[in-house]
Symmetry: C2
Subunit: 396 residues, 2 copies
């Protein structure tokens, strides 16, 4: 979807993918390697039944900076118990040995079906082939290699002046279903050349994820394998203690995660139309986010949009589901595609046919003004279609 | 679905329905009348954008005992502002006048599309016709008259010895979509002959709803018009201060609401298969309920069941979504249709084909043992099908 340099176009970043035979056809084993990585950070799923890749990588991150990310797709190696955990450990060991790294310097991620063990033999052979020459520059192949039910690759590139230097962020992501990040996300991997500490990078990533990956939902389901990782090559020194520079870097990173999140929601299983719900005038930002989330998560709003039905009554219902923040239905104002459809507790005299036609589009915007405070938030969801049922009835 | 006496078979309970022209075809204006009602209670939607019927009836209940319930179907008269509220008031006034009651003795309920005003002229003519003779005994017609997208009527009847007397509870309900009660329910109306105080009846109803109507979900959406009401004729004196008698009455009422809740979930839009999720061994009952709710609410579990796929990986994912209670994935045990599919952190060696075939049934049971405590709960949901998409893409 987005153009621009790939992750391996950044100096000091290497990437490659091969077909190891984990899934049927296509690249399924990938790496991103930053041999001189100076900082790393990660945000992980809050699912209480995480995959062994999540458990390992979360632990590794606590020990220091990781320098390589190895990703398998087609199999999440989740719910596979001690044997699955031991498979993950084997992969980590092999990669560490190949690259002369400590095991805690190897991050692993896996995506695909839950509950099946990885074909370890194939993965081991794949690792041998992949790291014969670890200094490859095939970022586009990795963007492809991490996909499962996705219908297109998701890449982002941003750059911005931070102080007198230009810093770059490049990233890739995968995700299409089981998308309702909870303090984490699908798989997302980013690299930057900004020289910052891991602590600062962690804060910046957490903030970026909170505003982007955590504000999209395809189906309210939270994967057991989600993670977003970022690695810094440290080539471009910036002053992270300078508030302006810190902010400039954070906005660059956030813009990159925003681009990726938008591509994920655009690729929502079975969906063509994105629903963008913006809430303002809530008592708090958190309250606004809760309301926006109820709108994008409502199956009845999602099916109405799919049917090109500007059914504001269902939007009103979804707003009213909020229990954590106050709402006054007499003060509420609801816009669909910039048309006011509801105010002062009742529908306006809008042109139904015209509005209905305006829903035949890529993105439907729903705006809510609570007129109670200054809280604002935007969340993104997608329509619910028979395509979603098809994909998920048959996926196994 | 269930047989037995209708609500108006109880002594002192009158009921009738007519076709007033609110919706196309079928009964759409109904009443349940208990002229000598001695107690009443109600539980209402927690949706913050309630319909004017909810606002009126909640208020009426605070003032005392109501004696008649008037229900319109096909139009929820929600989101219709002051004009809609004034329509509701007009209905209340007319019914009160006809029956010689105070306005606070008239409960109103409405169900159907949100955001359209009622055809008040037709409703007024309907009230004239309906209450020409208010002493009718057509409970079955009322069970039919309160339906919208439902495919069958929902009725319940229970009776039990309380002390030396036999008390009866009869009820009706409607609901098929927009079903995720939040401290309330769809429409449900019950009558009993047990002579109890309104305060006791309220406690009993709140408890019954919490265990039954509030444990079902079709689509996680919470209606703006939900209410469950109960009226007592007071014909059978019981000792509500006697713990055994109090408990006996509560269990009779709970059994009636359970029967109705089961019929609603069985009629879930587009669904044929009910998903029954029972969780035990959680740290608390609330924790068990949270886990069970995540299972029945997960679109990916629902589509898997629809595809007759015993996808325990998605069940594990749904369990892990719980944030309010602790889970240990190594201790978890998961059964599908009484077959152990997961324990000690990994899948068992179950017979996939046999289990797959066992999912071609009316009710699929999912049992989870957390092995952490004594908390238990059961929740009921239904599969997610193309039928749901059809119904809700076109409904307006």
């Amino acid at each position: 979807m987005s153009s621009g340099p790939s992750i391996s176009d950044l100096d000091g970043v290497y990437a490659n993918a091969i077909q190891a035979g984990i899934k049927e056809g296509g690249y399924d084993l990938s790496y991103i390697y930053v041999p001189d990585a100076l900082a790393s950070a990660g945000v992980f799923t809050k699912n209480q039944c995480p995959a062994s890749s999540v458990i390992h990588t979360r632990k590794a991150l606590k020990r220091g900076v990781f320098k390589v990310i190895v990703v398998s797709s087609g199999n999440a190696n989740a719910g596979t118990g001690e044997k699955g955990a031991s498979d993950t450990q084997q992969i980590v060991k092999s990669v560490a040995k190949k690259l002369g790294l400590k095991q805690s310097e190897v991050a692993v991620a896996a995506t695909g079906i839950i509950g099946k063990r990885l074909p370890l033999d194939k993965v081991q052979l794949g690792i041998e082939a992949l790291f014969k020459d670890a200094y490859q520059k095939h970022g586009e192949q990795v963007a492809e290699g991490i996909l499962t039910t996705d219908t297109f690759t998701k890449t982002a590139y941003t750059s911005q002046k931070v102080g007198k230097k230009t810093v770059q962020v490049a990233g890739i992501a995968k995700g299409s279903g089981m998308i309702a990040p909870n303090m984490a996300t699908m798989l997302g991997f980013l690299v930057t050349d900004a020289k910052v500490s891991s602590a600062f990078l962690q804060r910046a990533l957490t903030e970026a994820v909170g505003k982007t990956f955590n504000r999209i939902s395809v189906d309210t389901d939270t994967s057991t394998s989600d993670m977003v990782l970022v690695l810094s090559t440290g080539k471009v020194a910036i002053a992270e203690n300078d508030p302006a520079q810190a902010q400039a870097f954070k906005s660059t990173l956030t813009e990159a995660t925003h681009q990726l999140a938008q591509q994920i929601i655009r690729d929502g299983e079975g969906a063509k139309t994105v629903i963008e719900a913006t809430v303002k005038g809530a008592i708090t930002h958190t309250g606004a986010e809760e309301i926006a989330r109820h709108i994008i998560d409502s199956p009845l709003v999602k099916t109405a949009i799919h049917g090109q039905d500007p059914n504001w009554g269902r939007i009103l219902m979804a707003i009213g589901k909020s229990q954590g923040t106050k709402i006054n239905q007499k003060k509420l104002m609801i816009n669909i595609q910039n048309n006011r459809v509801y105010q002062e507790g009742a529908p306006t005299d809008f042109d139904l046919e015209q509005l209905r036609q305006s829903l035949d589009t890529d993105t439907v915007s729903i705006e809510v003004d609570c007129q109670l405070g200054t809280g604002t938030a935007t969340c993104w969801g997608c329509e619910l279609t028979k395509g979603y049922i098809d994909i998920n009835t048959a996926y196994n």
